[in-house]
């Protein structure tokens, strides 16, 4: 069952299932490597609680909670592309 990226805990490796954002933010996320099937690890949070840094495709990208909620993820790679 996919959950949002915002609800994952730090250090837990997950796989992207799909993006629910549309328009600019969707394209931006795709450009940055948030594409279905890719693995992603939440690394650390800002001292003020938001945003969170994620390791994706060999780089570290920070996203806010509101944007991370538009990324749906699953715990295993096999489920990601279904």
């Amino acid at each position: 069952m996919p959950v949002t990226l915002a609800s994952t805990s730090l250090g837990e490796r997950v796989y992207i299932h799909c993006l629910t954002a549309t328009g600019t933010m969707r394209r931006r996320l795709l450009d940055l490597g948030f594409t279905p099937g890719n693995s992603i690890v939440p690394l650390y949070r800002s001292p003020l609680g938001d945003p969170t840094a994620y390791a994706v495709m060999g780089t570290v990208i920070a996203l806010r909670r509101a944007d991370a909620e538009t990324v749906l993820v699953v715990p295993h790679q096999e489920e990601a592309r279904s």
Binding site: R27, R28, L29, L30, D31, S46, D50, A53, V60, A62
Partner: protein
């Protein structure tokens, strides 16, 4: 000699500027954060009898326009005549870089790929098969490590051999869009004259972005009848796609998705990861930790300021005595030329003194602070600052990237305003542009340092003078930040009420800065350039102010008349007429505020010996300055209207006179208000 033009494109932070500098021999500063290169830099190199002009485009993740800088990059690729677009890519995350490459390949007739950071990839256990990549993409590919001199000369030779018989990229694309889009593109292409390149890019752009298609049609010089037929066909196809549920936004998403999927596929097929990455992100976790994150950032800034205050004093004194010692020779020289006393005094007391004060006061703090700050920048400190601060900016209606443009403003507000192109939303961009002047640029920075060490450090705790003044400057920067946040909040509430847009920020790996090179570059480039500008402005300003002080109307000098006129208003803000006049006269450049004040006082007083910073202090005290005056002047300097160059940049970047006026009025109102309140508090206390 054959001359060629190439455009340099690439993701942020892939060493694009390093490649550019190495190719052209220019010294554009390379920073370890995205958004460093915002303007189009241009340079030329000659090799093997070929002259190549290189234009450095801003680093972007995409050219399917999401922000102002992406638009700049896209328009340069589409409309600037060039022989080749060289895409610089990061070997350690090739998939994401190929995404940009494929997007560019769709809109540029000839493209080549330069895979950078091959050594870093090797260290991370990533092997890139360049030959296979070349086959898959059907464009020339080279792999380099940009910090190796040998690799760069290899790149130069490769380019100069490639350019003379550069083939057009294979017109058949390495991938296809979803069928309805491809079909529409084929139908539209039949309206166009046959050509290898435009028959794909033009239909695609016409479906996605009609405004760009119209510009492309202009560039192709297509007859009016064909043009009308094509445009009406475009409308039909757009309607047909909408009827199938593919709206314009959806279409653009689908285009990006196809490209991303292709780049993932190609990258996965031609790179091998031997050892999976085992990165701990230890430093990141410390720098952004809940308990220490903010403290460490403040600590770093405070430390930098403290080193600056400590180190600036001695060279400042030396410069003062050097310039003072030179004065007799200057007088002798004027005598030798038989210059009338009026002109001799104009040149010595007006021009020479102003220039020497500006130099002695400005040069040492700048030469210490900015190279050190550049080191932090190279290390990768700034994106972490943006990451830590994002929450504050989010509640003000913008995002953490504003911390980046503020840091650019610390060098020069005009650069900071230009830097605001990194924002993807108009609201964030305008808010950041208008509030950029609340961060002291180096012109005001040196005055803050001088006044802080003269009035706050010595007066409050003489034993730890420099530490106290550094802390006060830190406070002033924090006040500037707080005002930035407050004004941004008000601004976004008043002018833009739309929902916040998404935010994403790359945190690049820490890179060891090349200390010697960075220090030298920063010293030569930034410090000397800024100093030259300051001298160029202060020399005529010195002459004007001397004339104002020495031409009398009805027994009083023009300077005194103006100052007298401003005096009652200035007193309300805890200053005097001369100070306010100095701020107004210094509109062309903030550097000259303090020299104008000194000149103004000297023209009425008898104090002539000006051989040290301490002498400035006693001149100011003689003219009624106390801690309150100093604090008010510093606050006014921090918050008042930006300099003329910044205002012009604001006009150019926003494209409207309205934002320029707001950019003048809002800070001025803040400065007046804050100084009045501060003066009120001081007069209650004393």
């Amino acid at each position: 000699m054959n001359a060629y033009r190439i455009l340099l494109a690439g993701n942020p932070n892939v060493g694009k500027s390093t490649v550019f500098n190495a190719l052209t021999g220019l010294k554009q500063h390379t920073g370890n954060w995205s958004g460093k290169t915002v303007d189009l830099a241009c340079g030329t190199f000659c090799c093997d009898g070929v002259s190549v002009t290189v234009t450095d485009l801003p680093g972007t993740y995409s050219v399917i326009s999401n922000s102002a800088e992406e638009e700049i990059a896209r328009n340069a690729i589409l409309f600037e005549p060039s022989d080749l677009v060289l895409v610089v890519a990061d070997a350690t995350c090739l998939a994401r870089n190929l995404n940009l490459l494929l997007q560019i390949r769709e809109i540029a007739p000839s493209v080549a790929l330069c895979v950078n950071l091959m050594d870093e990839a090797e260290r991370k256990g990533i092997a890139v098969d360049l030959a296979q990549l070349e086959q898959a993409l059907r464009i020339p590919v080279i792999g380099i490590s940009a910090h190796r001199k040998r690799d760069l000369s290899r790149l130069k030779h490769w380019l100069t051999h490639l350019l003379p018989d550069m083939p057009m990229s294979d017109p058949s694309p390495p991938f296809f869009y979803p069928k309805p889009i491809e079909d529409a593109m084929v139908r539209l292409a039949s309206y166009l004259p046959p050509s290898d390149f435009s028959e794909r890019v033009l239909p695609l752009k016409a479906l996605d972005n009609p405004a760009i298609a119209a510009q492309l049609l202009d560039a192709l010089s297509i007859g009016n009848r064909e043009r009308c037929a094509f445009l009406s066909a475009v409308q039909t196809e757009r309607d047909a796609l909408s009827a199938q549920g593919i709206s314009p936004v959806h279409l653009r998403d689908m285009v990006v998705e196809s490209i991303v999927a292709t780049s993932n596929r190609i990258a996965a097929a031609h790179t091998r990861v031997r050892t999976p990455a085992s990165h701990t992100y230890k430093w990141d976790k410390i720098l952004t930790s809940r308990r220490f994150g903010i403290l460490i950032m403040l600590g770093f800034l405070g430390l930098l300021l403290w080193i600056t205050v400590c180190g600036a004093n001695l060279p400042s004194q030396l410069l003062f005595s050097l310039f003072e010692g030179f004065t007799p020779y200057l007088s002798a020289f004027w005598n030798f030329l038989h210059l009338p006393p009026f002109f001799a005094s104009l040149l010595t007391d007006g021009v020479y003194h102003t220039v020497s004060w500006v130099t002695a006061v400005m040069l040492p703090p700048m030469a210490i602070f900015f190279p050190l700050f550049t080191l932090l920048e190279d290390l990768g400190f700034l994106p972490r600052l943006a990451f830590n601060m994002d929450r504050c900016f989010c509640s003000a209606g913008t995002c953490g990237k504003q911390a980046l443009t503020m840091c650019m403003g610390l060098g020069c507000n005009a650069v900071g305003v230009t830097g605001c192109r990194i924002f993807s939303s108009e609201r964030e961009r305008l808010a950041a542009m208008i509030t950029n002047c609340f961060i002291p640029c180096n012109g005001r920075f040196s005055m803050l340092i001088t006044l802080s060490s003269l009035f706050l450090g010595t007066a409050l705790l003489p034993s730890a003078q420099s530490l106290v003044s550094a802390l006060f400057i830190l406070c002033f920067i924090l006040i500037g930040t707080a005002v930035t946040l407050g004004v941004t909040k008000l601004f976004t509430l008043c002018f833009f009420r739309e929902d916040p847009v998404g935010f994403s920020l790359e945190l690049p790996p820490f890179r060891k800065p090349k200390i010697g090179e960075t220090l030298l570059c920063s010293l030569v480039d930034r410090t000397v350039k800024i100093l030259v500008r300051a001298i160029r402005v202060s020399a005529p300003a010195g002459a004007v102010i001397w004339l104002m002080a020495n031409i009398t109307v009805c027994g009083e000098s023009i300077l005194q008349l103006c100052a007298g006129f401003l005096d009652p208003f200035a007193r309300l803000m805890g200053m005097d007429g001369i100070i306010l006049l100095a701020f107004l006269l210094a509109l062309p450049a903030n550097e000259i505020v303090l020299p104008i004040i000194l000149m103004g006082y000297l023209s009425v007083g008898t104090f002539t010996d000006m051989a040290s910073t301490a002498a400035i202090g006693s001149l100011l005290t003689q003219n009624g300055w106390d801690i309150g005056t100093a604090v008010c002047v510093m606050l006014f300097s921090l918050l008042h209207f930006p300099c003329g160059t910044t205002l012009l940049t604001l006009y150019k970047e926003s494209g409207s006179i309205r934002w320029m006026f707001l950019g003048f009025l809002i800070p001025t109102a803040c400065a007046v208000l804050v100084c009045m309140i501060c003066n009120g508090i001081f007069s209650l206390l004393v």
